[in-house]
Subunit: 346 residues, 2 copies
Amino acid sequence: MPTRKPRSSRTGRATMADVATAAGVSAMTVSRALNRPDKVSEEVRARVAEASRRLGFVPSRLAAALATARSMTVTVLIPSLTNSVFIDVLAGIQETLSPHGYQPVIGVTGYAPEEEERVLRTQLASGPDGVILTGLDHTPATWDLLRGLPTPVVHTMDLARNFAGDTDDALTVGFSQFDAGHAVGRHLVERGRRRIGLIAGQLDPRTRQRCDGWRQALVEAGLHDPALELMVPDSTSVALGAELLERMLAAHPDLDALFLCNDDLAQGALFHCARRGIAVPGRLAVAGFNDLGGAAWTIPPLTTVATPRHAIGVEAARLLLAAINGNDNGPRSVDLGFRLMVRETT
Amino acid sequence: MPTRKPRSSRTGRATMADVATAAGVSAMTVSRALNRPDKVSEEVRARVAEASRRLGFVPSRLAAALATARSMTVTVLIPSLTNSVFIDVLAGIQETLSPHGYQPVIGVTGYAPEEEERVLRTQLASGPDGVILTGLDHTPATWDLLRGLPTPVVHTMDLARNFAGDTDDALTVGFSQFDAGHAVGRHLVERGRRRIGLIAGQLDPRTRQRCDGWRQALVEAGLHDPALELMVPDSTSVALGAELLERMLAAHPDLDALFLCNDDLAQGALFHCARRGIAVPGRLAVAGFNDLGGAAWTIPPLTTVATPRHAIGVEAARLLLAAINGNDNGPRSVDLGFRLMVRETT
DNA sequence: TGTTTCGATGTTACCGCTAACACCAAAGGC
DNA sequence: GCCTTTGGTGTTAGCGGTAACATCGAAACA
């Protein structure tokens, strides 16, 4: 009867104890050899490495996490996976956390604070070392949860000072959506436009802030006409942009400028103009938002607002890492600004 | 002196033992009340629920995972976060796994099999209950790792039968990249084009298969000219498409049709044509690949190949869930096909 | 009425790792 | 030469759950 290898684990995988036996040392020494090599003699280190390799040992992060109370994961909650804005933020987060051994774990909230609360609850069960959220509009229960957390929390895409609620002195990384919207409004005004409209979809708080900023700029110029605002809850798309512009022009043929709260809407609007022979910017000026991939490559190239999405992810992750490591003396709120990209549609 | 609440945990959070004490039962009963309510009397169930709520108890998934050897996580490895193709797949996976309580954990491989191996290694340390990979081109060591896994593995975006290596009878979900490329090539030939070029970036194995299919179609028609192939390793973008088309036209002004291996390249090509006054499809036919968001909204609308990205994610997750639950008698390879979207650029 | 059955609950022993402390031999100080 | 330091290693206990088995009272049965 052949002796079986002493793979003790239920999963059939080698455990630290197996490696210890094979290397003729204790489990603790194996742990040290792997995690704090300087604490172990060179000879033993080599024996452990060899045994470990031979058995194909993969240390269980689960067990380590349980023992050390550090999971090396970070919960990241975003509204949607299909909106490239959040994916860019996520990419920045992932690139920054990864080299430090932290694993982002993604939750999708569908733009709904209640769903966010639910997802956060389930994610907290796996004991993340930090949390990154989108926006500051959370349910009261979510704020309670966050307050009770022993780990740091960073909010992105918005700034505490722009939020109309108690933010608990939270860590925030973003830019002023209001100011960005305002800048677009003012730009259209300065271009001499008088009948300036607004089209928005996906009415999350950030979109609303942009709209508020735009409205404010128009009010300041004495040009605001509520009839020229078309806001729908549907998620944005090129098709929606074309459709909404058509509706708006039917009702207000005198429209001479338009702010669309996301570039895909703007792209749809440009398409509609091309199809209908509406001169851009001759008869209608068009501005978008976000400076997504193709914005510089529409015809004519789209005026829009470049938002620092990737940088927000990077900075949020940095702030979080600092907080995890106990550096709580850095900035609590980081404003990464935005840039109005004036191209040829205005 | 006020008595402190018996929060035993290091993290300050309530543990199951705390809830047990509060409810006047044993920890095991709490566990049962939460996980198998039918095994517990209604009265105790209520007491546990109440105590649990009062203490804000969140059961530690880590501890549960360690005890049950089920982490309820699935490792998902994708080449890039910024390519929307993989995000669409990911969204399908996430939507499908989530209702079953499984949490996708994402790893980014940067299109490099060696990096994939490295990322996989670190991810396996957290004991996922399943693995979903992109493509079938893995390092030998990766294949070894996968073979040794006690959990199921699904490969996406490709089909075992199209792969020129040993796939170990792996579970695969995808479509034939080769056939899709071939369909585009044949379509351009059938439109009567004679000087048909190819532009490709991001030369991963799937892109290469598309190119191979296209080439085969041209060879079959006796129209293949290697000089009309322009393949670069850079990642694709609208800007790159415009630039590469300019280069190709400079060298081959007689070009009358072009297949670009991704829609963003095609969009750039269309932009270049508009700028240079090149009639599409009059003088030059253009076809893209993937049917990304704006493809139907270019001017003119882009002929491209619609790929079932979301469905691939959904189906991959389904297959994986079935395998996790021991249903190994389903299909091992799922071909979700593709659709040639003939619009106005060809 | 005594025995069996069964549903509800408790006990024990881990899962795989690491913190904290114990231990021990060799090196260093006086 | 004796006592302290020190570097290397082992031991013990426990992280927060759960599987498996033990227990026990009441209902069901003979």
